[in-house]
Amino acid sequence: MEDKEILEKFANPDSRNLAFNQLVRKYQQKVYWHIRKMVIDHDDSDDLTQEVFLKVWKNLENFRQDAQLYTWLYRIATNECLTFLSSKKRKFFLPINDVAAELAEKIDSSPNISGDEIQLKLQKALLKLPDKQRLVFNMKYYDELKYEQISEILGTSVGALKASYHLAVKKIEEFLKAD
């Protein structure tokens, strides 16, 4: 079902639930994986994914259709991730590296994470990046979004995003080479 059709059906109280169910089914995996790559833990990702869709449910009526629906969803999911990671740092009074270390430990110990050595190393290398640079890398490298789309989601200029991505790639390659 096209986004436009979902939005039209959502506007009608009789077909609202059906339309929202379609929306969840269409975008749940994109939202979940976007969150999972940022917070690593499945249970945290599950909670945040549900929170994202609850916010979508509450605000979809006010969604301005001049933006694309998936861009709007990415933006909500991104904000949820950043808020979650910030609160995690504040809650435990930990400096950024300790949260990264905690997430890296999850990569080693979680039963829901598997892969060859170089892939696991890559994930740990990503945790060395600042959260926003990690977001940019994930959206460009894994989700293969265009810089213009990432710009719309993050509200950052395309030039700054290009610089951020190339710097991230350089840092990761150096980390992988050095480790």
Binding site: F20, N112, Q119, Y142, E173, L176
Partner: protein, 146 residues
């Protein structure tokens, strides 16, 4: 033997997803989300995060409105209000007014009856017995039992 990679090009690495989800996770997730939306209220006309700031702003505005209202009412009243000092009104005018407009009600006579029970004198009542009888007769209250 050192098998560490010398140069790693990310573009040459396969984009393998190392993260996994429990079985049937994405089959069940929409149902769980829909169950939560059923319990979730629709968005309020004002976002909840605005309320704390708004409360702080509303209190002084309400206080200001109250002050303005009180001032406005106080300014309005002196222009229309006429006060009369009762001491400057002659007794004859007061008697005329009471004669014309004051009406005796049955409750007044009830009080009179009570006063009799307390054996108050006719002097205290400032009315003669004949006048009282006449008044009772006039209002047909002789047989009224209070």
């Amino acid at each position: 033997m050192n098998n560490k990679p010398e140069n790693i090009d990310l573009n040459e690495l396969p984009k393998h997803n190392v993260y996994q989800v429990p079985e049937d996770y994405f089959d069940k997730l929409p149902t769980r989300i829909m169950a939560r939306t059923a319990a979730a209220p629709k968005q309020a006309w004002l976002p909840a995060q605005l309320w704390p700031n708004l409360r702080v702003a509303v209190a002084p505005v309400l206080l200001l409105m109250l002050l303005v209202s009180v001032l406005y009412l106080n300014l309005e009243q002196p222009a229309t209000k006429q006060t009369i000092n009762l001491a400057t009104v002659p007794d004859s005018e007061i008697v005329d007014y009471l004669t014309s407009y004051a009406t005796l009600e049955s409750a007044d006579f009830a009080e009179l009856n009570n006063l009799n029970q307390q054996e108050l004198t006719a002097d205290f009542l400032n009315v003669s017995a004949a006048d009282a009888e006449e008044e009772l007769e006039y209002h047909n209250l002789r047989n009224t039992d209070y």
